[in-house]
């Protein structure tokens, strides 16, 4: 486990932007109508936000960033770092963080970094952006984290189509040497699971070809091509239950954290099944793990900021909180941590 402790920083505020377009799983015709209620009950997801054509993760993050900057009253000229965490960038090149510097109107003196992480991305982003700010050389940073994974999903793949929700988030992190927040984070990677969640074609290993677009049929009537997301759900589940509880306990021990002191558990919304199992394995008491699964499904790397701007918004605005966070999935990759933040100036959820 890699441990990262970040001090002398403060999260000033955050904003999440979701597409206004709502897709109801009750209208998913691939599952026979008579089986749909039980199917929806089993996955726990009733509806999702889906970005229309032409709306990218960068657009959602940009809108979130503009709202955030105006709500917390930052001067754009002072922002020296932009970190964009996503697996749905605008282009294969250039880096989307660079494009966003110009689109948001940040100064050209800004350092920009793209990080390619999915569901573990928010924890990774906090570690990287937070560490760069904590020395004080960079005083204000924007962490933009989001995905529009629905663009890669095949309608005829019932193992992925009903799950994902698109979202973009913006988190403002500033240097704060006194009475600041702190992040206690821990990471691991298992690239042995590279094919557990994958879009096989379109990168440089398997470049796009005519074959990439050919739809194949798989077990259970599932259809997809090699530019669609493939997910081996049972292997994701096995990875999560064998690693996340252990990684969390190791992180608690390493940083001397008492679980009783944690106000909320913000667990990545992978699926109802995974969340319930993790809550049990981590012995989380009832009411401490807010859920937004029903209306927002799996928002990938924006799940954690989404929970902060919805379920615990009032608390996050009014007091200091100790929050357990965990993100895990594609890579395979995971990040867990406990962050102490609070009295945010902004925790808005907006639409595009």
């Amino acid at each position: 486990m890699a441990f990262v402790e970040v001090n002398n920083i403060k999260i000033k505020g955050l904003t999440v932007c979701v597409p206004s377009n709502v897709v109801e799983n009750s209208s998913y015709t691939v599952v026979p109508e008579s089986e749909r209620p039980a199917f929806i009950e089993a996955i726990g997801i009733e509806r999702r936000r889906v970005a229309p054509e032409g709306v990218c993760a960068s657009d959602l993050c940009q809108k979130a960033a503009e709202n955030l900057i105006s709500e917390i009253g930052w001067n754009k000229e002072d922002i020296e770092l932009l970190v964009f965490v996503s697996q749905t960038p605008d282009y294969r090149m250039p880096a989307t963080s660079c494009v966003l510097q110009h689109r948001i109107g940040l100064p050209r003196s800004c350092m920009t970094i793209d990080i390619s992480q999915g569901c573990s991305g928010y924890v990774y982003g906090l570690g990287v952006a937070g560490s760069l700010v904590s020395s004080g050389s960079v005083k204000k940073a924007l962490l933009l984290v989001g995905n529009t994974q629905n663009k890669n999903i095949n309608y005829n793949d019932k193992s992925t189509w009903p799950l994902f929700s698109d979202a973009g988030s913006a988190t403002a992190i500033e240097y704060c040497p006194e009475n600041g927040d702190n992040f206690k984070l821990s990471y691991m990677a298992d690239g042995g699971g590279e094919k557990t969640i994958i879009i096989p074609d379109g990168g440089y290993r398997n470049m796009v070809s005519a074959e990439s677009f050919v739809e194949h049929e798989y077990e259970g009537g599932i259809k997809r091509n090699n530019l669609n997301v493939f997910m081996q759900g049972d292997d994701v589940f096995a990875f999560v239950i064998s690693n996340v509880p252990k990684a969390s306990r190791t992180m608690f021990e390493r940083f001397g954290i008492q679980q009783d002191d944690i106000d909320y558990y913000l667990i990545h919304h992978a699926s109802k099944f995974i969340i319930n199992k993790l809550l049990k394995k981590l012995s989380v008491s009832e009411g401490k793990a807010p859920l937004q699964l029903k209306d927002f499904g799996n928002s990938s790397n924006a799940s954690i900021p989404l929970l902060m701007c919805t379920s615990i918004k009032e608390d996050a605005l009014s007091k200091r909180l100790k929050l357990y966070i965990s993100g895990f999935g594609v890579g395979l990759s995971l990040g867990v941590g406990v962050i102490t933040i609070g009295a945010l100036k902004c925790a808005d959820i907006i639409e595009l």
Binding site: G220, G233, D234, F237, A238, I241, S242, K277
Partner: protein, 76 residues
């Protein structure tokens, strides 16, 4: 580790619609009508609870009968 008989019982308990008497050590569980990705997750979870062993999706796919799976878990 629980006995084979107890394991078959625990296995059956993860199914809602298939009657318990259908489940025998030699049942080809992946051919059951109720078998699917969600039942596979339930089995992984049950094995974790009962035997403190995490099996993968690939492990399940390599087994034909419930007894195969029981033996695989014992070998872990």
């Amino acid at each position: 580790m629980i006995s084979l008989e107890e394991f078959v019982k625990a296995f059956a308990a993860e199914f809602d619609d298939t009657p318990e008497e259908v489940f025998k050590p030699d049942t080809h569980f992946r051919e059951l009508e109720e078998w699917g990705s969600l039942t596979a997750l339930s089995i992984i979870s049950m094995v974790d609870d009962e035997a403190d062993v995490v099996i993968t999706g690939a492990d399940i796919r390599s087994c034909t009968t419930i007894e195969d799976l029981y033996n695989l878990i014992q070998s872990k």
